[in-house]
């Protein structure tokens, strides 16, 4: 269905293009469709015409004079590209990575403490403090509760470890980028 829509859209735009009726946005849309292989139903000459006319370098009608906007944009690029800005940006990223790593490490410790405490109390439970548990109103035994809690805690632990590994990989990648 989507493919059919693309074919129809491509054909409509191409006809408009030959009639000189396409807007700049529509011409870019045609270009994108062409590069994404969505205009393969067109003849080779149609495809070449679009590619050549939209992509090729041509003799200039007059020398290009940079606008104030161009100059401001280049100044902006220079500022972002300056070593000072890049170092500040890298330091910011590094700080954030440290914060995330610390939070995850603290969470893992807390979870481990909770898990051990839970296991300890589960084996030394006092009959007076034993509150019945249920799932959707259905009573479940304490051993089932313990089993489920353990499973969920292990799952959370595994995800946190995975997150921590991802952060370590990111830090390594940033280090490699900085070294280059």
């Amino acid at each position: 269905m989507e493919q059919k829509d693309n074919i129809n859209r491509g054909t409509i735009l191409l006809n408009k293009f030959y009639d000189g009726q396409t807007s700049r946005e529509e011409e870019v849309e045609l270009y994108v469709m062409l590069t994404e292989g969505q205009l393969s139903h067109l003849s080779k000459s149609d495809q070449l015409l679009l590619k050549l006319s939209l992509e090729s370098d041509m003799p200039q009608t007059s020398s290009y004079s940079a606008s104030d906007e161009d100059l401001a944009f280049v100044e902006q690029l220079k500022t972002i590209a300056s070593p000072q800005t890049r170092t500040e940006k890298d330091n910011g990223l590094r700080r954030r990575l440290w914060v995330y790593s610390s939070v995850i490490a603290a969470s893992i410790c807390l979870l481990l403490i909770c898990a051990f405490s839970y296991r300890y109390y589960a084996h030394h439970e006092d009959a007076d403090t034993n509150i019945p548990s249920n799932i959707n109103g259905k009573y479940i035994s304490q051993s089932q509760v313990n089993h489920l809690a353990e499973n969920y805690l292990s799952l959370v632990n595994a995800h946190l470890r995975q997150g921590n590994e991802a952060i370590e990989q990111t830090t390594e990648a940033f280090n490699r980028i900085n070294e280059q």
Partner: protein, 176 residues
């Protein structure tokens, strides 16, 4: 320009930054958001700026910058799709200097076709030639071309229509 040549700020503007409008449109078409497109354009030009010494070797700046924009957007969308899959950054940040995806034979054919276009253009009289170049190379709107060349918008549309059909005829003959 040969190896070791330096790309000045002026060269960078004339060859690459002048296509910022079309780069923005490509990004907007792919990313479907003005804000994302603006960020993408800044990121693309920043990477080009940082590697501008290597850009002196680029033969066709417009085609090159358009290809870089496309690659950037596709990569961005792929990353968004795989956001929750753990990937190394090496995979998600391809080098900004896109490898030439044409093989030797295709490059020769491309060069031949470019020559055909240049030859065909050289035969076109003014102001038609300027209309064609301003519309395709500089991506000006019909109203801007009309203003620049003292024509009406209808004239511009008619000229473009005729020239595109003529060029198609020319290309069909070359291909046959």
């Amino acid at each position: 320009m040969g190896i070791g040549a330096i790309m000045s700020e002026q060269d960078f503007i004339e060859k690459f930054l002048r296509h910022k409008v079309v780069v923005t449109m490509i990004c907007r078409t792919y990313l479907k958001s003005d804000i994302l497109a603006q960020d993408a354009v800044q990121e693309i030009y920043l990477k080009l700026w940082l590697q501008k010494e290597q850009l002196v070797e680029v033969d066709s700046p417009k085609a090159y910058v358009m290809r870089v924009a496309r690659n950037y957007c596709i990569d961005y969308l792929r990353k968004e799709q795989n956001k929750f899959m753990l990937q190394s950054l090496d995979e998600t940040f391809p080098p900004i200097i896109a490898s030439n995806d044409l093989d030797g034979q295709a490059q020769i054919e491309q060069a031949e076709l470019e020559k055909t276009l240049q030859h065909w253009l050289s035969k076109i009289k003014e102001p038609k030639r300027s209309v064609f170049i301003l519309a395709h190379y500089d991506h000006l709107g019909h109203d801007e071309i009309a203003d620049k060349l003292n024509l009406t918008e209808v004239n511009v549309r008619v000229i473009l229509s005729r020239l595109r059909k003529e060029l198609k005829q020319e290309l069909t003959e070359v291909l046959n």
